[in-house]
């Protein structure tokens, strides 16, 4: 079955979505990430969406769900690299991505997660 790879770096999980996901693939990623947070005791999740040309309500909801589930499992999520056209469209679509933290790029996102993990006592 097709899957989006999840990389582990220390206590952070990294995902870079490089394909136009169909809905089942998005749900699989959501489930995989949630189980992997528990299995690896990750404290942070970084999701790079810089390759995504479209984020519709389904993918938006998946991102919000991952952030909410990670939060319950004591991990912080940052979504990075959203394209400007995607941001404009999301807002007009009416999706505010409540509870999802964002950063401009992977570097900023990593810094954000690192400082959270340190603040919360590693």
């Amino acid at each position: 079955m097709e899957r989006i790879p999840i990389l582990k770096m220390g206590d952070i999980l990294l995902v870079s979505i490089q394909v136009d996901m169909h809905d089942r693939l998005a749900m699989t990623l959501q489930d995989d990430l949630t189980s992997k947070i528990v299995a690896t005791r990750a404290r942070g999740v970084l999701i790079d969406i810089s390759s995504l040309e479209v984020v519709d309500s389904f993918i938006g909801r998946m991102l919000a769900n991952v952030a909410a589930m990670a939060r319950v499992l004591d991990a912080n999520t940052v979504v990075v690299g959203m394209r400007p056209a995607v941001a404009i469209t999301l807002v007009e679509l009416g999706l505010s991505l409540t509870g999802v933290r964002t950063a401009l790029n992977v570097e900023h996102g990593m810094r954000l997660i690192r400082s959270d993990v340190e603040r919360d006592g590693g």
Binding site: V54, D56, R61, T89, L93, G94, L95
Partner: protein
């Protein structure tokens, strides 16, 4: 209004929603739409294709390049033979859903399109026509 070019796609699986996004993107690029306009149209198409699949039980997309007073546009018609929409006004409200979604598909697609027309008859099906002009 003249139709310069047309094509149709069937929407019966998840993968078809991806195919709809790709095809609409290709046509929008060919028409010279700006990146933001392309993204809006593709996103609207994605929402409507999913509605056709999930609520309509599958259906078709008719894509047309239309010309009106020297302006060219992309018109998309999503059609299904599903149960139809009982209350169209309610269905167009943000946050209303009979399924498990966020209730943003229809209302969001309307905001992202320049023309929007929804016709639905209970037990006969639903047709949504959207268009964007360049």
């Amino acid at each position: 209004m003249n139709v310069e070019k047309h094509d149709s796609l069937s929407i019966v699986t998840d993968d078809d929603i991806v195919r709809v996004r790709q095809r609409v993107r290709d046509w929008a690029v060919t028409l010279g739409f700006s990146l933001v306009d392309q993204t809006k149209l593709v996103t609207a198409a994605s929402e409507l294709a999913r509605n056709t699949l999930v609520y309509g039980g599958g259906g078709t997309l008719l894509m047309e390049v239309v010309v009106n007073n020297r302006k060219r546009g992309l018109r998309l018609t999503f059609e299904d033979k599903g149960p139809g929409i009982a209350d169209v006004d309610l269905a167009l409200k943000d946050g209303f859903t009979t399924g498990k979604g966020l209730g943003l598909g229809l209302s969001g697609a309307r905001r992202l399109s320049q023309d929007f027309e929804l016709t639905s008859c209970p037990d006969e099906g639903t047709r949504v026509v959207i268009a964007r002009w360049n």
